[in-house]
Symmetry: C2
Subunit: 391 residues, 2 copies
């Protein structure tokens, strides 16, 4: 087991109608003036925005509003948010939405509290030294941003999509009402299921480091997401299924599933380039294409770990004589599951032509400036090979 530091201090308010407690929760922390940050029309159409605003104003909270966050949230809106936060002197950025809204809120929180251009933090040229507090009201089970220290923003000048990890912007609190995800459609539910699984899988299918408890917890999350993901796809208003997915999403990305282990996140890096270049691509759908391809490229470097995944998550029979067959059965089971919940597993299903592969791979290496960690270091050639396995 590797040494580790773990701190996941976000306070979680989980359950039915919890979004209606937003006002008392915010007031309980002593905040008086906040920014409510949200996306497009869905929270307005389904009444969630009204319920949250009622709760906040009834508690005497002064609210500055900033809507308009898009999927793959953009730096231009982050800059507007920073200007607005400074101008109005808000004390908290409250994100009402899914991962895109929360990530945008985190970037605003960091950008407001530091003098540097926020793009420098994402380019890793500068490091943030503080952030405004962030709270969330979650409406989508997927990104895990509600308990994580990471955020991903697309620079809409360069179309580079980059992540920033910082404990400063980890949410102070997150309000999670699974009922708010009843209206998430089949496609977005599927994308969320893949994203949750991938946050766990990229920490699980890694190099050797014996860490039994972390492995068992990772397998717990994966099995739960598969079981209840199927139910949520078939019956979007099943509270239990929506609740299991929501809590699994948070635990998958708050650090718990990586403790004592190294990890790569290289499928995420490749996918960020895909949805950075092709803005129409949902992150989860991109991951569903990249992951099986990466598995086929990578599994031979750690056959018994892929076999463990197959047996412990997918209930495959262990082939003790030929463990490779078990490893492959687990990859196949994953692809079949993704397909069964309506996810693509090939680049063609994302309308990404073969001709784009070379540019995608080159961009993933930041034009030759980095390699990706994996079983070995992946440069342009290896990423091309992975992406060709997704054709």
């Amino acid at each position: 087991m590797n040494d580790f530091v773990f701190c996941a201090p976000t306070k979680v308010f989980f359950g039915k109608d919890t979004h209606k407690q937003a006002g008392s929760i915010v007031a309980g922390y002593g905040f008086k003036k906040i920014m409510l940050h949200f996306g497009g029309g869905s929270v307005k159409r389904n009444g969630v925005y009204d319920a949250v605003m009622d709760s906040l104003t009834s508690a005497g909270i002064e609210v500055v509003e900033l809507g308009g966050v898009e999927p793959n949230p953009k730096m231009s809106l982050v800059r507007r948010g920073i200007a607005l936060a400074r101008e109005t002197g808000v004390q908290l950025i409250l994100a009402l939405g899914g991962g895109s809204v929360i990530d945008s809120a985190k970037a605003i929180a960091v950008g407001t509290a530091n003098e540097e251009d926020p793009a420098l933090f994402f380019a890793k040229v500068a490091e943030p030294k503080a952030a405004l507090p962030v709270g969330t009201i979650l409406t989508l089970s997927a990104a895990g941003s509600e308990m994580s220290n990471s955020c991903v923003i697309t620079n809409d000048e360069t179309w580079e999509k980059r992540g920033l990890g910082s404990d400063f912007h980890r949410p102070l609190f997150s309000i999670m009402n699974p009922e708010l995800t009843y209206t998430v459609d089949r496609w977005q539910t599927g994308c969320g299921i893949v994203d949750i699984m991938m946050h766990t899988l990229e920490r699980y299918l890694t190099k050797e480091s014996e860490m039994a408890l972390t492995d068992r917890i990772a397998e717990s999350i994966l099995k739960t997401v598969v079981e209840y993901g199927r139910i949520a796809i078939d019956n979007p208003r099943d509270y239990e299924a929506r609740a299991q997915l929501m809590w699994a999403g948070s635990l998958s990305h708050n650090g718990l599933t990586a403790l004592g282990r190294d990890y790569f996140m290289c499928c995420h890096q490749i996918e960020h380039e895909i949805s950075g270049m092709f803005d129409r691509v949902s992150h989860g759908a991109g991951l569903a294409v990249v992951f099986p391809a990466w598995c086929k490229f990578a599994y031979k470097h750690n056959i018994h770990r892929f076999a463990q995944y197959a047996v412990n998550v997918w209930n495959c029979e262990m082939n003790f004589a030929e463990p490779e067959k078990t490893a492959l059965a687990g990859i196949r089971a994953t692809e079949e599951f993704f397909a069964s919940i309506g996810m693509p597993t090939r680049l063609s299903q994302l309308d990404i032509p073969e001709e784009s592969i070379e540019e995608l791979a080159w961009n993933t290496t930041f034009k030759g400036k980095r390699t990706l960690p994996g079983y070995g270091e992946y440069g342009k050639d290896e990423i091309i090979e992975i992406l060709r396995l997704a054709l």
Copy 2:
């Protein structure tokens, strides 16, 4: 799934030699003067005390010392600690030890920051409104107090052993080096294994509330503790085994294993009375006696849950025609495991005579002032019946 609030903000520094970082960690929080609280001679004999003191003084931390914590920590020492903390104006209580030392530190932290007699908080007559910050350097995997919000103190005037749950005294940070537990003897290692399992089991074997992810995580902890507990008993210097037990101990009691479920903790309540009346009894050993008895009393009220425990934790074959047999097989497996690691499973092995049962049961009800929650409410008669099953 029940609604829940979850917050486990303790920052964990886990790994080899981490106790030597105590000074830089304490200084990093800005503390300049602290109380170092510890037990008897073991930390002095094995060099841990010296290493921690070196680290603290090298970092310029002024240290006020208070040793002498006994197993089943006593209110009289807590009172001395409170007086000393007030007199010296320390900013942090740093516990160096196991659950007893940490619980004593928590009680001092609460007592110092409130005007009331601390015994009133444990008697539930008053509620604390603050606490000094608490840090821990863990030397025993058992109580889980290093991440929990609970503490248990024995009043050595009345010999009542009572718990106090409060987020105020939840540790700010915990330093966990599994190597510090290499010198824990076979008996105390066994007691710790039982205590860790019981913190999870008392949250798991409860009334109905579907909560798959919490169940899977609880089973993960239990399976890991059984697997690595056996190794640690046989080879006390196996780092991996000691590390798995240590991290399992923290996760078992930080709240994670109860989310979305009701729970009882009634075996703990009965055991507190046993080790309160018979100070020689170790908490874990008392639990190893009470738990199988409680299972035999309780399992018929939830046969399929006890069967789930048998199958998912002990790999028992499910008897679909007669699930009761599977439930009983799980209870038997637990008893056999406890015995295999040198734990008692009968009152006689604790030298507790049958004649004490009535008084124990009466005291557990606080002399008729409370019942215990379980499958139904347990009064004196039910507790007598449970204890008789431990004869």
